[in-house]
Assembly symmetry: C2
Homo-oligomer: 712 residues x 2
Amino acid sequence: MAMTSKATWIWYPGDYEIWLGNKMNNRRTERGAFFPPFWKTDSHYVTVEFSTVVELAEEEEITIAAEGIFNIKLDGKLQFGMPATFLLPAGRHNLNIKVWNQMTPPALFVEGKTIKSSSAWRVTFEDLEWIDESGKASDTSATVYQAAGCWNFGREERPSAYKLCREALPAVACSAQQEGKLYDFGRETFGYLVLEGAKGNGEVKIFYGESPEEAMDKAFCETLDRIAVNEAGFTDLATGAVVAASERYVLDNSKAFRYVYVECEGVTLEGVSMEYEYAPVSYRGSFRSNDEELNRIWEIGAYTMHLTTREFFIDGIKRDRWVWSGDAVQSYLMNYYLFFDSECVKRTTWLLRGKDPVTAHTNTIMDYTFYWFIGIYDYYMYTGDRLFVEQIYPRMQTMMAFVEGRANERGMVEGQTGDWVFVDWADGYLDKKGELAIEQVLLCKSLETMALCAELVGNEADRAKYAERAATLRALLLPTFWNETKQALVHNCVEGKQSEAVTRYANMFATFFGYLSPAQQQQIKHSVLLNDEVLKITTPYMRFYELEALCVLGEQEAVMGEMKDYWGGMLREGATSFWEKYNPSESGTQHLAMYGRPYGKSLCHAWGASPIYLLGRYYLGVKPTKPGYAEFEIRPTLGGLEWMEGTIPTPDGEIRVKMNSEQIEVEATAGCGWLYLATGQTPSASVGTFESVGEGEYRLRIEAGKAVTICY
Amino acid sequence: MAMTSKATWIWYPGDYEIWLGNKMNNRRTERGAFFPPFWKTDSHYVTVEFSTVVELAEEEEITIAAEGIFNIKLDGKLQFGMPATFLLPAGRHNLNIKVWNQMTPPALFVEGKTIKSSSAWRVTFEDLEWIDESGKASDTSATVYQAAGCWNFGREERPSAYKLCREALPAVACSAQQEGKLYDFGRETFGYLVLEGAKGNGEVKIFYGESPEEAMDKAFCETLDRIAVNEAGFTDLATGAVVAASERYVLDNSKAFRYVYVECEGVTLEGVSMEYEYAPVSYRGSFRSNDEELNRIWEIGAYTMHLTTREFFIDGIKRDRWVWSGDAVQSYLMNYYLFFDSECVKRTTWLLRGKDPVTAHTNTIMDYTFYWFIGIYDYYMYTGDRLFVEQIYPRMQTMMAFVEGRANERGMVEGQTGDWVFVDWADGYLDKKGELAIEQVLLCKSLETMALCAELVGNEADRAKYAERAATLRALLLPTFWNETKQALVHNCVEGKQSEAVTRYANMFATFFGYLSPAQQQQIKHSVLLNDEVLKITTPYMRFYELEALCVLGEQEAVMGEMKDYWGGMLREGATSFWEKYNPSESGTQHLAMYGRPYGKSLCHAWGASPIYLLGRYYLGVKPTKPGYAEFEIRPTLGGLEWMEGTIPTPDGEIRVKMNSEQIEVEATAGCGWLYLATGQTPSASVGTFESVGEGEYRLRIEAGKAVTICY
């Protein structure tokens, strides 16, 4: 067995993620009330056994740290107590350490000269069969097995103590308003409010706003705090938490805001500041162009992503601060072009899945279950992390079993009691009855994902089963939903009858999933995607896929116009992060309202940041064609820009692209791939030679470490 | 909705029990090593919503206490913070309180003038459907629903702080031995050792023994402790727990022992005492007779039961101190004739079942799964507690689904990978291959139990399904296992072929389950039960059923002899509690060994106490014939005694029986029933008149509160 060079804390895969996710999801408050999710909250296995087999040339002392009560078995024999160090004799040995912890996930850190806890250790919750044996042919040639979970925590970084980073930030402006003061922190932000020099005997009332209107609206702002102050100290009146008096009181729960309105009763306050909380991610991706507005869109998108990339990818930072699958799968894609934080993708995927038994769809939403599947294969393609697929595959099986257990006799899914068929927040009415075309398209892609992942983990029976089911469903899609008159997929089918409605959803997914013929793709481009008669999309969420479909169809120039209109529109409305929903036809405080509440809308929502993804994948034009960017493809397209340049992170390096109307510079620091250009005539390259691939398109081999300049 | 008169802490049914059970099961140590169970350890749902509907004539203030972070919704509207009191306006209202707690089970206590938290509240873990709706016809006339779990904790009795009672006890003798001192506590006991006046700088080594041999055998005693002592205080060297110096150091973990051998290095010790730990149960049942040895057997049995009746019914107090289904189902039956502690039966049943998904048999043992089912119907018959059946029924369904998923094409169970087919600890070889007769007999009874419980909860589809499966299996039993030549059920069938072996197990269960014809019963009495050629049973565990079968066949006199031989034999060996295993042919320290370890045997094992049950049910002769002793039957049998008298507890009272060779006195304080006597001629009664039921048997109606004296 290969030993990794560095020991790390290990746990049952998914357990730490689910536990940490509970902490995060449960930080939501609504006007001072604790507001946990309304779906099943899972938790960790409380007793877990870790094991490894060691082959020691000489005796070796290990140090052992555990989160929990533990025991040690050497070659099956229990050892006394819970020692901090333990001496293993030379030779081949089975080392088993069993940890029990009700409060936080059982976790283990072991380090010796050669023995180091890592994902090379095995783990069981006493489900009686070592989980590497489940669903895996015993004769697979590669030694792959279900492995311990980890996240590269060093010895002193106890998993249960994990916290994001903080940085003290002042307000940039303060003005007297009504009975109190309004503080402006300059842009959308997130963290812990700090009361400076609070003295007296009374109460501080704090009203948060993403807008000044919200902060000043004491009756309707979405979040607030009430802090009682006296000589002894501070009491959070919502939670009852008490903190001794000091010059600086940092509130216990984080909030999203740009503005804070503070009223004091019987208390004097020197000022208000904050501790900004953030994930320590690197901005590995970049984008610049001649268009400053577009650059600003990219930057605000990146900041929006940074605010919503936390312990997990959350939807928005004000409300609900939860992990939602439909939102997350977009964050993953943006992340691959910005932070390339693989750990956050894995954590989010584990949390969304939770534990068996499956009692409902992911987040209770049918479509979100399908995005969960799709995100796993995306992850594998971008990262090449096969171990993760192996770890999560058993939960993919049980999730798909839940889905198939609710399918109708045609293998299609329809909303049942307890299912939320979401699709999108739409201003027009969306019929949710019967077989929705988009749900079947997403299910089909999910079944294809199951087949691909089954193959990856070496489960041939599953591969064949899911491939057959995917093929059967796919063969039904067009006969069921394609309407020749409308030249489009209709929205749904009820009791075997096509509805009259055409919506964009199924049409755009079918486009970039490649479920339509080239002719049909061109038809729906005009009959649906570029047709203003069809119900418009007003969430950046579904605009993400709409614009992606148009990019796949080569409409980068049209999409550029849309991006500048739509995201530029938010900027012109003063956005410092992108919103949950934006309808250009609204104005003023209409932009703040949603869910029937005047400030219900989130003004910092991850799904608002899609230009990050579109610019990286469809303008700089980079995507992996083999897992983990072992091979990639670059199809740069200016889409109306004069020039652009940018960096795409990959697992082991980056790909840099710079382009103007005459010249392209490309360099990849790892992997190899092809640069494609549709120019009509052979371009020239400083390294290598273009070859024709037909229809006026040419390609050039790109090798790692060799910068190439192309003239075209 | 009926309100109970007293508020109690409530939780998700089974969750507190599983959490508390983990604490208990995980107190096992083996020579200073933490030793948790080797099966899946479940835990509580971390987020739970409690709800009730109130109808208030006037506004009402409630006080709220929760274990966990909580929120309150009144008629769907979230309220600020986590208040200790809350005012509800008059009228009809929905009150929902949601609690999150990772560490201990979310629990709630609410009390107002009319509003009181109780099992009348509903609870969900957000499995999306209120659990009262699952598997239940909506038109059931009785308002029965899945209800909150509780255990009558008052406001100040926080569930997570629950502890058994303690009482300081001195050693009764102390003698210098080897390098240290041997303390004798006079009889088998359980609790926390106390070091009195320990001073110095060094270590105290403590070796526990149920026998003096074990305590003095430092290398092989089953449990031990090492305590480091210095000026600052005490350090438990196994756990690292530190306690400041004091005159009296109470060890942190309880142990089972009669003897303690203590060696001090660098430490002086004034003495050793203990804190006896016990469950606060009442001895509601009693038994006395002219036979003092038999009386002593009953008393030692009762003490054995008291030692093993703790937060749960455990197997033995030294090792493993775990909850095992096969052991527990016998404890339940003994309990009905001694403490009638219904709460402990429920707690034990919840813990044994754990949570979904089912990944293995109960305690990993196939037969133990079946005892789990059987124990539930027993519980219902003795207590009449239908609510519990309703609460546990969904887990009965998933447990039976697991069993049926592993059955062969004939609907019979055979051991598969991961299954432990136990049956009994037998000195002779027991074949575990193929279809074991006893396993099918137990499965058949389990299926019958499912049908009965399905009917109780109003699930007609399940009732019909399980009744049909039980009938199918039962029809196969005799054709498969009955051997006319041997006049017995054979032990097993492998690949359709009866084995040559006959064992007692299936024959005795089939007898008291009524699966044999009267003629077959008489045949196996001689061909098996009273046949010394058939492999003898050497555990009190299976002797329980063997003697029960003989009692059912009217062999009370023979059984009396067996009891006095077998349990009297243990007494003559000096037992102060009954053992895990007793083979009269062994002698001396042979009696201490088991599992290949010199002191592996438990000398205080619940299944050793079966005379408690046999004397109550088959000599005093009392059993319920309608749930909860609404109706009962008394069939007193002296079985060779000159006289006997005793009390049988019932849910709402007790039944007293006193009998000698001429006269019987009977009184029931609640319920009504029949006294049966087979005398050949009509007995006379002080109240009422005997009626003949044929074959020389007569019966007399017994009414609550009316003492009756019978002459026969």
